[in-house]
């Protein structure tokens, strides 16, 4: 039982982090808080991927030891960490930043128009404008 928990507890922590982010995205009424929830959700997925690449034992990061251009010792796959999740997550981090940037630009436009960032107040103002305008 303890063995089982030790071999899986990192995945459980990331799932709990994802759910915190998902709750913030859906339930909070302030638009900036929703954005922060989105960031937490994406960060938890990135952590999940990176933890796939870990190998226990006497392993080192995926940089091959060389000395003046020659290999120090022969390359064996069991001596190095898995490089592929790191590669994928470099791209995913950039995608997350880009989405946050565009969302913040959209938030600036919303603030210019409604003077508030609370979703309930924005919907009330929009309803009022539609009634007086239509």
């Amino acid at each position: 039982m303890l063995e089982f928990v030790i071999s899986k507890y990192n995945f459980w922590i990331y799932v709990i982090l994802m759910m915190i982010g998902l709750y913030a995205m859906l339930a909070k009424r302030n638009l900036v808080k929703k954005l922060i929830g989105m960031n937490i959700f994406q960060t938890a997925i990135i952590l999940f991927y990176v933890s796939i690449g870990v190998k226990k034992g006497n392993v080192q990061v995926p940089i091959i030891l060389t000395e003046h251009g020659h290999l120090v010792k022969a390359i064996r796959a069991a001596d190095y960490l898995n490089p592929l999740p790191h590669v994928l997550m470099l791209t995913a981090i950039v995608v997350s930043i880009a989405t946050t940037g565009v969302a913040l630009a959209v938030l600036i436009l919303i603030y210019r128009r409604y003077q508030t960032l609370n979703e309930d107040e924005i919907l009330a103002i929009r309803q009022q404008r539609r009634e007086t305008g239509a």
């Binding site: 030790i6 709990i16 339930a27 796939i52 870990v54 940089i63 060389t66 796959a77 950039v94 565009v102």
Partner: protein, 97 residues
């Protein structure tokens, strides 16, 4: 409303946790992720690309297309922000006259 969302989030979390029960353990050196594609990268990256940093070799050589996609994502985000916040580009001198 918040209670409904809380229950939904707990159920979704439960589904994800159910999925982790069968996964290979954390750091298992015999898991499929460590024994199918990545040993090929580790063992052949130095002789094929002469780069000691394997992550750089994969990112810039084997999967360079993904890196081009990532640069494109940054460009698209920059243009989207410029379109939304700045607006008018071009013909500015003619408009001032």
């Amino acid at each position: 409303m918040k209670v409904i969302i809380l229950i939904f989030v707990i159920l979704a979390g439960g589904l994800l946790l159910y999925g982790t029960l069968d996964m290979p353990g954390w750091g298992d050196p015999h898991s499929p992720a460590s024994t199918w594609v990545s040993p090929g990268y580790i063992e052949q990256a130095y002789e094929k690309t002469e780069t000691p940093n394997i992550v750089t070799a994969v990112l810039a050589d084997y999967r360079s297309y993904d890196t081009m996609g990532e640069t494109t994502v940054i460009f698209t985000a920059a243009i989207a922000c410029a379109l939304l916040l700045r607006g008018a580009v071009g013909n500015r001198r003619k408009e001032d006259e």
